[in-house]
């Protein structure tokens, strides 16, 4: 069959709108996931056995089961258990936030672990109270060290978000399928959608390497 990409031009705004939807819920999920992930990482370094175990199981569950199933579950099972109605958008944001919280917490945890105990000693020797220590010494270093990892998480979440098309959310992938159904030319559409994801994802991964090279030079004394 002959490939013909020209017709895609007619759909450029539609594809962009799909991308816009994708970016909206990915951004929301990222922000929520960032906060939730940091809280989780503190839970996971907790000395309280119950908090530690629960948060560990939570993180492992969301990292170890297919995101497709998580989405499905939040979409169709959560309303049954909670007996509430959630809009598609809300459901997607909840599902992706829960997932991104889990992967973000791992990045934070690794960063927290990489801060030498001598930094704590130095804080005590300088008479810094615990809150100052956490806010002004530990947190900034943890965030700096976690940044490359967090950025990689942005890329993975952005990519994984293509799955929400499978539960009927009109994101980039879904719009692509919709167009393909309409014009019945799936090869071109699929390729174009892949390229759009790439066009966003690639600069992001480059940014990761850039930040990694620059930032870590400062932080690693």
């Amino acid at each position: 069959m002959a490939l013909d990409f020209a017709f895609l031009l007619d759909f450029r705004w539609v594809l962009l709108k799909g991308l816009w939807t994708t970016l909206q819920f990915v951004t929301l999920a990222l922000v929520i996931g960032l906060v939730w992930g940091f809280v989780l990482s503190l839970f996971r370094t907790s000395s309280n056995w119950v908090i530690y175990s629960l948060s560990t199981i939570y993180v492992e569950f969301f990292r170890g089961t297919p995101v497709l199933i998580q989405l499905f579950w939040i979409f169709f099972c959560l309303p049954l258990f909670l007996d509430v109605n959630l809009s598609d958008f809300t459901s997607v944001v909840i599902a992706l936030s829960l997932y991104s919280g889990a992967i973000t917490s791992e990045s934070f945890r690794a960063a927290l672990k990489s801060i030498e105990s001598s930094q704590h000693d130095a804080c005590i020797a300088l008479g810094l109270p615990p809150t100052v220590r956490t806010l002004f010494v530990i947190l900034p270093q943890a965030v700096l060290r976690a940044i490359p990892n967090l950025l990689s998480n942005v890329v993975s979440l952005f990519k994984e978000s293509a799955l929400v098309s499978a539960v009927g959310m009109a994101d980039l992938m879904y719009v692509g399928q919709n167009i393909a159904n309409n014009v019945a030319r799936p090869v071109e559409i699929l390729t174009a959608v892949a390229l759009i994801y790439f066009a966003i994802g690639f600069p992001l991964t480059r940014a990761v390497s850039f930040v990694e090279a620059r930032l870590l030079k400062v932080v690693k004394a």
């Binding site: 492992e60 569950f61 049954l80 890329v155 293509a162 790439f198």
Partner: protein, 223 residues
């Protein structure tokens, strides 16, 4: 709650789900073998100073890192035959896509690990009269493997999780069987809950083992 749970069908379907799990495990295993070996070769290639080698490798890595795995699978399954005129089975194509995806991510893990090996080890190898290949095999590879192991295993579990996507190209893995059963029995909620738990039952112990191994290698490699 306004829903009657019925586990009867699901119970009957359990053996089928186990068959699916077996396929998932096989896929994961082979994808990991491809990912571990090819990933290292790519990482070594990326260390090269020759642009003709690094450019295509960069393109390969970035393509797989920057596009959704869903698209990669579908693209491999449908577009490769159209564009290159080759027909391999769904299972093989799924495996290939997953393996190449994992290799791209693993190569980055290896690269970071290789960079963490002190440069002086290269000098020491030369001083000991080891040639380039011997150095790679006996000095760099084992250390890179040990240093990168936590990330490699995390990636490996990630592929276990992501392998669910092959269901969309009709590879009969756990996800496929789950979806099939749920459309057969019309008990999607029970079936998919069970499927999620089955995935978790595999990934959780593996992940705990990783944490343990991570602690051990750290101690071993501490200098």
């Amino acid at each position: 709650m306004n829903y009657d749970f019925s586990w009867f069908h699901v119970e009957r379907a359990f053996p089928t789900l186990l068959e699916g799990l077996w396929v998932t495990l096989e896929l994961t295993l082979w994808a990991n073998i491809i990912g571990l070996v090819l990933g290292f070769i790519v990482a070594i290639g990326m260390m090269s100073k020759i642009k003709v080698i690094t450019w295509p490798l960069t393109l390969y890595i970035e393509f797989f890192r920057c596009t959704p795995a869903l698209i990669q699978l579908v693209w491999f399954f449908f577009c490769v035959p159209i564009l290159f005129n080759v027909w391999w089975s769904a299972q093989f194509m799924g495996l290939l896509a997953l393996g190449l995806n994992l290799a791209a991510f693993n190569s980055e893990a290896y690269r970071a690990a290789i960079q963490a090996i002190p440069e002086s080890h290269t000098d020491a190898s030369t001083a000991l009269g080891l040639n380039g290949l011997q150095r790679i095999f006996f000095v760099i590879l084992p250390q890179a493997l040990l240093l990168a192991m936590p990330v490699l295993i995390t990636n490996g579990i990630g592929i276990f999780q992501q392998s669910a996507l092959v269901a969309l190209i009709s590879v009969e893995d756990l996800m496929y069987q789950g979806r099939y059963l749920s459309s057969q029995t019309f008990r999607p909620i029970e079936t998919l809950t069970l499927v999620a738990l089955m995935y978790f039952a595999v990934s959780f112990p593996v992940s705990l083992t990783v944490t343990y191994l991570e602690r051990r290698t750290k101690r071993l490699l501490a200098t």
